[in-house]
Symmetry: C2
Subunit: 251 residues, 2 copies
């Protein structure tokens, strides 16, 4: 069994969201990521170098084939061909109400770069935030670039897509944080152990609808204070600083 032309075509088609949704699958590449995902997602198809299958008996899929370096190079989305490429079934969006009390969650409001979304999942995972609400115009977490950027965090962090204000509705007292240039210095503000941290789009920031829901406006101070500089931090960098500070207070 080798990696057929049809399978290579199928894998490459999954770059597009439409095809991913049709097949209800997504692509993961590389030994570590594929192994991480084995614990939480069912694997539909897996192609790997023969020695990789021998070395990782935990890699199981409904359909498994050995592949040559050349075949993997033709199928991959990466610059350097991985040793394994797998298709996983997309987990169903968890049913039931989203619990926002008693924990920290992130909300992505139109974050459009797939790499940023993946990096944010990885940051959330590091800081023990296991739930992310995403507006419908946020990049799809199953985009191959996103999946790779999560470095496995996609297996541990739950995501919900939908209309953000609706996902948050029903609890007007819930602390909802966002970062703004006119916000209050984060280091001087009380930070709660529960609530939602909203991250805005790279170009447009937080939407006017979500601004209304935010009841705690924060600011990450630049240095020296007030110096004219880049207008903002990259959204993933801002996420890292804010999450680190929330957790430092609890540490």
């Amino acid at each position: 069994m080798s990696l057929s032309k049809n399978k290579i075509k199928l894998i490459r088609s999954l770059k597009e969201k439409k095809a991913r949704n049709e097949h209800h699958t997504f692509v993961a590449e590389g030994t570590k990521l594929v192994n991480d995902l084995m614990a939480s997602c069912r694997c539909q198809f897996l192609a790997a170098l023969p020695e990789v299958l021998t070395a990782h008996p935990g890699m199981k899929a409904d359909e498994m084939v050995t592949a040559s370096e050349n075949e993997l190079a033709r199928a991959t989305f990466l610059k350097t061909a991985p040793q394994v490429i797998a298709l996983f079934y997309q987990p169903d969006q968890p049913a039931g109400e989203i619990v926002l009390r008693g924990r920290l969650s992130l909300a992505l409001d139109g974050v459009q770069d797939p790499g940023n979304v993946g990096t944010i999942l990885r940051i959330a995972d590091w800081f023990g935030i296991d739930q992310i609400l995403c507006s419908s115009d946020t990049a799809d977490i199953y985009n191959p670039k996103t999946v790779q950027a999560t470095m496995g965090a996609i297996a541990r962090v739950k995501t919900y897509y939908g209309d953000l204000p609706s996902l948050l509705s029903g609890d007007a007292d819930l602390p909802v944080y966002g970062t703004f240039l006119e916000g209050t210095n984060i280091y001087g503000e009380p930070l709660t152990t529960e609530g939602v941290i909203v991250l805005g789009s790279e170009g447009k920031g937080i939407s006017s609808e979500m601004k209304k829901r935010i009841n705690r406006k924060l600011f990450i101070p630049s240095y020296p204070a007030g110096r004219s500089t880049s207008e903002s931090l990259n959204v993933a960098a801002a996420t890292a600083v804010v999450c680190a500070e929330f957790r430092r207070r609890q540490g």
Copy 2:
């Protein structure tokens, strides 16, 4: 005057480092970035929509042409065609000795992703760090992806490429920081107002040679402490957390 086929070919050739070094130029795209660079770099060539030239009289170049959307779309490295594409001369590496005392600097040790390098420049700029030492195997700051990711910080942050241990030599007492899984919790450590923060390669971490030069090993705690999670933060995310913490102490 319009954007000729030859110029489009020239612009696209500058994706490669070899061509950039031959021409001693780099590409910048978009009104904000090009305007930011005007203050610090000489512009060799500029192509823009006619209305952009009218609206931004500060945009000056040795050679300027108006261009159609279609022409800009053929020349761009971005997904969406910008309103202006410019070629800037690469500034010469600053002459004289690198001053490491009395300030914070970053050192990139094999950071290979152009986007990460650009994001790190943007983070440095935000936190008032205006000098970055780069190992020779760190991604070139003039890579178009890097230039765009800096969002203009490339105009304000100085970079030096070379052999990192040599660039640092001669001052054995200089505080040199690095993050390691076995480091000490950054929140419990004294942080100096001068020194170098070393950031390692995405795959291999900090090189063994640079490890020897690091005299303060830090750790960004995950949450809850000791939980098994993603093995690490993305290098740009870690840079953001570390720089924010250094500056918080000084704030």
